[in-house]
């Protein structure tokens, strides 16, 4: 695993390198996001491991997500991406290792939703409630002001459908609603698990812009996705997990340079050798 030195001019291609898979921490943080003043990594994953009834789902996974960076988390089905994400968010307990958000574990955060917004696969949307009711519940859970509800509804383009029951929503509309809930607390970190699932092409385009501007404003994004073409368009760094371990990590452009800049060919080469779980 390589360690890149920090850069002072954060631009799309040679912003400060972020991702470390060997547990070392990049400290060269000349880059200070507009949202956070911290110089610690936004997310620091340290030798995380977890087994399910003998099966090692995640083994010794370490990487960082620094301020202002979009990190694409890639890997075959069953490689351990979801389990890693759930441990970062305190939903599952690691057997060993830790996941730190600006230096503290998720369960120790005072107001986690003000720091981290998450969109997970199991979106938690009761079909009988309207979109607005879901956001009212979410706002009550994190003590966000009610005015934020209309703000995020506008932001994700759901305002016209806000008073309809979720049962009538398409998958894409549900994803937008989950994203709206994640944005309620004005977090500085987004953790997104397959957020493009079900989004139509216009929605994917919009999501790409949202992620990009979020990171450009200093926010950090951990983006787990199977659609490599979308990841290639938006990520600064990538982490590839295969069979529970970090198979590759680094700045996107330089990592895939040897493959003619093609993320798919890099990815398929890398995961073919590790005989991915289907």
């Amino acid at each position: 695993m390589r360690l890149w030195p920090g850069h002072s001019r954060p631009s799309r291609e040679d912003r400060m390198r972020t991702v470390l898979a060997d547990g070392a921490v990049a400290k060269g943080s000349q880059h200070a996001g507009s949202m956070t003043k911290s110089t610690t990594p936004a997310l620091a994953i340290r030798e995380l491991s977890k087994s399910f009834s003998g099966y090692r789902a995640v083994e010794n996974v370490s990487f960082d997500v620094l301020n202002g960076r979009v990190v694409g988390l890639l890997g075959p089905n069953g490689a351990g991406k979801t389990t890693t994400t759930r441990m970062i968010l305190g939903l599952a307990a690691p057997d060993s290792g830790e996941a730190l958000i600006h230096g503290r574990s998720y369960r120790d955060l005072e107001r986690p939703a003000r720091m981290v917004g998450a969109v997970l696969d199991a979106a938690g949307l009761h079909p009988g409630r309207t979109g607005r009711e879901h956001l009212r519940i979410a706002a009550a859970q994190i003590a966000a002001p009610p005015a934020r509800i209309d703000a995020v509804l506008d932001e994700v383009g759901l305002a016209p459908a806000a008073n309809r029951r979720v049962a009538g929503y398409s998958l894409g509309m549900r994803q937008r609603l989950s994203l709206a809930a994640a944005l309620l607390g004005e977090p500085s970190i987004l953790v997104l698990d397959e957020p493009a699932n079900g989004l139509d092409p216009a929605g994917m385009h919009w999501l790409r812009e949202l992620i990009r501007s979020f990171a450009d404003a200093g926010g950090s994004v951990l983006l787990s996705s199977h659609v490599l073409s979308e990841v290639a368009l938006v990520a600064d760094d990538i982490v590839v997990i295969a069979q529970g371990r970090v198979a590759a990590a680094g700045e996107l452009q330089s990592t895939v340079a040897a493959h003619g800049g093609d993320l798919e060919s890099f990815y398929l080469d890398l995961t073919a050798t590790s005989a991915g779980v289907r």
Binding site: G90, G124, H126, R129, A140, I142
Partner: protein, 274 residues
């Protein structure tokens, strides 16, 4: 967190339906048993006692003890061993409160918003207790209303003392709130609606069958055999004059029983991955 749990309860149709069914069931039972039958028997409505025959076993509502027995906020029983719709409805309300988050994955955003699981449980317990108390007070109002209408129709005085009445109604409202919490804890433990409802029915049937067998074998129903939810609920709305467990003791015992199950739910919620 508490307000969010209240919103969860008030924004789902199933909880509203459970409450509506419970109130409607209670009204139906109480109006029939406490108002219509005594009125038929007294001749206030219908062809009068003679035409109906002697078999009409209506409440005689002239004594204070009978009035207290008739005012039950849990629904006057049509026979020993039956489970009233009102009690079933509030238990189901509790199970729904405990399982809805699991059915549609709402537990994930909840755990993200509040990673300390103990606080999630506290919010759920408070919201469900409040909802149960509101239902309980509604039940009490319905039973009191039907009794008063019945007394008016029969031109009978209110013989029960207001204090005694308040005791029965208050005990009933508390019992209803505790039943809701019992359902909640069962729901959190079971995680699926169907499993929760079945476990709850299983517990109720176990109580009915176990007591029937104990009564058959021993010829009586010892106090320890009455330390089960339905019996404690009935004892909580008794006037205390007829022997058996006193109402205050019954409410306390029911609360202790519910606390144990809630504690088990808390342990499960804390130790399970979400």
């Amino acid at each position: 967190m508490f307000r969010a749990e209240m919103l969860k309860l008030t924004t789902t149709r199933a909880t509203k339906a459970a409450v509506a069914v419970g109130v409607a069931g209670l009204i139906a039972t109480q109006v029939t048993l406490v108002t219509v039958l005594p009125a038929l028997a007294s001749g206030a409505i219908g062809p009068g006692r003679e035409a109906l025959g002697d078999d009409l076993p209506a409440f005689d509502l002239t004594t204070g003890a009978a009035q207290l027995a008739a005012v039950s906020p849990l629904g006057s029983s049509t026979g020993a061993g039956s489970i009233g719709i009102a009690v079933l409805a509030v238990l189901i309300l509790g199970v729904l409160a405990g399982t809805t988050d699991y059915r549609f994955g709402g537990i994930v955003p909840t755990a993200l918003a509040q990673p300390r699981r103990g606080r999630i449980l506290t919010a759920k317990v408070l919201a469900t207790a409040l909802a149960g108390l509101v239902v309980g007070v509604t039940y009490a109002a319905v039973s009191l209303g039907t009794l008063l209408v019945s007394l008016l129709l029969a031109r009978t005085e209110l013989a029960a003392s207001p204090l005694e009445l308040a005791g029965v109604l208050g005990g009933g409202a508390l019992a209803v709130a505790l039943f809701a919490l019992l359902g909640l804890a069962i729901g959190i433990l079971a995680r699926s609606q169907l499993a929760g409802v079945l476990v709850m029915l299983g517990i109720l049937l176990f109580e009915l069958i176990a007591q029937a067998i104990i009564q058959l074998v021993t010829g009586t129903l010892p106090a320890w055999a009455q330390l089960m939810p339905l019996s404690l609920g009935q004892a909580a709305v008794s006037s205390g004059a007829t022997g058996g467990i006193p109402p205050v003791t019954a409410v306390a015992a029911l609360a202790a029983l519910v606390a144990v199950v809630v504690a088990a739910a808390g342990v499960a919620l804390r130790s399970r991955d979400i």
